[in-house]
Amino acid sequence: MEEVRLIEIKEEIHSDNTVKAKQLRDSLSKNKTFLLNLMSSPGAGKTTTILKTLEIIGDKLRSSVIEADIDSMVDAEKIAAKGIHAVQLRTGGFCHLDASMVEKGLEGMNLKDFDLVIIENVGNLVCPAEFDTGAIKNVMILSVPEGDDKPLKYPLMFTVCDVLLVNKIDYLSLSDFDIDAMKERVLNLNPKIRIFEISSKTGEGVQAWADWLTNEVKQFTAQ
C-alpha cells in the first residue's frame, strides 16, 4: 500500500479571476474610467434603468454600456437606438460575467474616451454575485414584483453590492411588498449598502440615484 501524503495548497478557488479583476481595476484607474457592474434577476428592469439613468446624466459624463446576454442582441440594440455607445457580449450559455469576459468587452473601446462604463450583467441573482468583474462599484436592482423576501433567498448578492435600486415602486400600492421589512433584511446583511427607491418607467427617484452616480464618477476621475 502506498503512503498518502498531504500537499498544502491554501489557494482561493477564484484566484485567477481575482488577479485578473485587480489588473482590470488598475487599468481602469489609470485611464480614469469608472466601471459599474449592474446585476439583477431577469426582468427587474436593468436595460430600462440604464436608459433612464443615462438620459438624466446626459453629456455630464461620457458613457458606454456593455450588454451581457446568453445569446441575443436585443438589449444592445435598445441602448444603441438611443444613441448610446453599446457593446454586446454574448456569454454563450454562461450564467454570469467574470473579469476576463469584461476585459474582452472593453477591448474594442478606447477607455480614455469614457468616464463611465456600465456592465449589464446576465440576469441572475446567484452566479454573478460570486465573480469579481473588476468593477469599481457593484449595483443591484430588486424590483417590487419579485417580492420582499429576496434578501433571504439570495443573501450573497445583497452582501456584495454597494447600492441597491428598488425598482418599479409605482407597483407598490398594487402589491403586498413590505418595503420597510425588505430594507431591514438588506441592512441586516449589509449595513453599508445605499438604497434608492426608483421607478425607471415613471422616472420617480431616478434623479437622486443618477446624481449619486455622477458624483461618484466625478470623484473617481478627479483622483
Binding site: R5, I7, I9, E11, E12, I13, H14, V126, L156, N188
Partner: protein, 116 residues
Amino acid sequence: MHELQVTESILNIALKHAPADKVKKIVAIHLNIGELSDLENEWIQQYFDYLSKNTLAEGAKLVIERIPIRLKCDSCQNEFEIKRDEIKNIKCRQCGNKKCSLIAGRDYFIKNMEVI
C-alpha cells in the same frame, strides 16, 4: 449553476500543485466553502469526475468543509456565528444590536490535497 467553472478552477489549481514526477495520483482534495455559497456538493463532485478523466486527479474525492457564517457586531465588536436560515433576523448575541458586518461565510478556498 456555475459549478462547472468552479470545478475547472479546482482541478487546475490541484494539478498545478501536483508535479507529475512527484505525484502519481491525487486521492482527495479538501475545500473550504462558505455557508453563503449556493454551490451544491453533489454537483461539484459530478462535474469533477467528468473533468478530471485522464488526469492525475481522476477518481479524487472532493471533501468539502462548510465554513460557518460569522458576523461582527458594529457596536460592541462581539463576533458570533449564525446559521444560514437565521439570516432573516440578525441580532448581536451580546448586546442585541442589529447592525453587524459579515466577516466569514463567503469563503472559496482549497486547503490541501491527499496524494500518493
